[in-house]
């Protein structure tokens, strides 16, 4: 079944049909925790994308050598290594953001979506497809995080920040930026995600079944 998908379709499915957060409902922990600002969402997305790309790449290159019994161990080892690299890089170059992301950077290791891609795709496919899949999933993840980040930051802080601190949006003075403070607090995270998932499901259920091309 997977063989019939072109690389591009594999890539696209990670963003749309199989979006790890909004469809597969994986990686919920970072989604709730760090989407209080767009800056955090983008950086986390980039870090996760880096890890899943490297993980898929290495798994795919070594796929003929990995013994079944130890495969989870190998995936875990690979992922943990690249997460550590990402964490070190962030602490060195985007220090303030890494402080805000806190423990959730190392928690990328247990983000189910990454190990899932290794198991389902990279173990069985060539490098091209594995990379397409990885990028798709990574971008899909980043997109989902960003949607939430935008909503929560605008409503909760009245601003929109890009990595590096540049602000895209600021409320005119006179508006209380924290009127909906709940949005950047934990309950707001749950509520926002619940609504977004609800909307996504609604859209999915409305769409007529696609006829295979």
């Amino acid at each position: 079944m997977a063989e019939e998908m072109s690389h591009f379709q594999q890539f696209k499915s990670g963003i749309v049909e199989n979006n790890p957060v909004l469809v597969q409902l994986l990686g919920m922990c970072p989604t709730l925790a760090i989407t209080n600002s767009l800056e955090n969402a983008l950086v986390m997305g980039a870090a996760a994308t880096f890890v899943v790309v490297m993980s898929n790449l290495i798994t795919s290159l070594l796929r003929n050598l990995i013994q079944p019994h130890v495969r989870i161990l190998i995936f875990t080892l690979t992922i943990a290594t690249f997460v550590t690299i990402a964490d070190m890089t962030l602490k060195a170059h985007l220090y303030q953001v890494s402080k805000q992301l806190g423990a959730f950077v190392p928690l990328i290791i247990v983000n189910c979506m990454i190990i899932c891609r290794a198991e389902v795709v990279a173990l069985k496919s060539g490098v091209g497809r594995s990379l397409a899949d990885a990028f798709g999933i990574g971008i899909g993840f980043t997109l989902a995080l960003s949607i939430l980040g935008v909503i929560r930051e605008i409503l909760g802080s009245g601003s929109l920040t890009l990595p590096g601190g540049m602000k895209l949006l600021e409320l005119p003075p006179g508006f209380d930026p924290h009127a909906w403070i709940i949005m950047i607090l934990p309950p707001g995270a749950f509520l926002t995600l619940g609504v977004v998932v609800g909307v996504v499901n609604y859209l999915r259920q409305r769409k007529p079944k696609e006829v295979p091309a």
Partner: protein, 207 residues
Amino acid sequence: MSVDLGVMFGLFLSVVLVNNLVFQGFLGICPFLGVSRKLDMAFGMGCAVTFVITMAGVITWCIMHFVLHPVAGWALGDPRALNFLQYVAFIMVIASMVQLVEMYLKKFFPPLYTALGVFLPLITTNCAILGACLYIYMKDETQQLLNALIYAFGGGIGFAIAIVIMAGIREHIRFSRVPRPLQGAGISLLIAGILALAFTGFTGIGK
């Protein structure tokens, strides 16, 4: 090493109610949403997680303080020098532990294994476990082994409470009419949001 019961109790209460790993710390969400459909499964998962998190917390604490720091200090002069291996070490420990627990249960407690067996691999990717281990290393209060144990255990209990409450509620709403798009994850998240709000009311306890 002082044994201050007040501090320990405060620590326990804090991680169960005030800084609940699920509602405040955003850890363990995937199983929290996925396994909370039925009360008995939720309870089982809660127990399994509490067990694993307590052991993992203690073992990883020991690895940092009895292995990594001394070795780094002896070999490289700086106890923090090998800290970059922390994440790899932690996750390998957790993964191996879960495997061992699984094998142990399968051999010695087959009925328990059949009941819980399917959860155990899931527990490895439960961010609450790794998260708690990382926090134990980072927090001042848990630099003593006993406190680390309490924090880990409390974290597990907090998770168990969260997931059981959620399961109880979800069993109730099985007979309500939830709009289709919200069924499953959507409504669970909204409920979780309200629960999180409720738990915010616990802030300040223990201080």
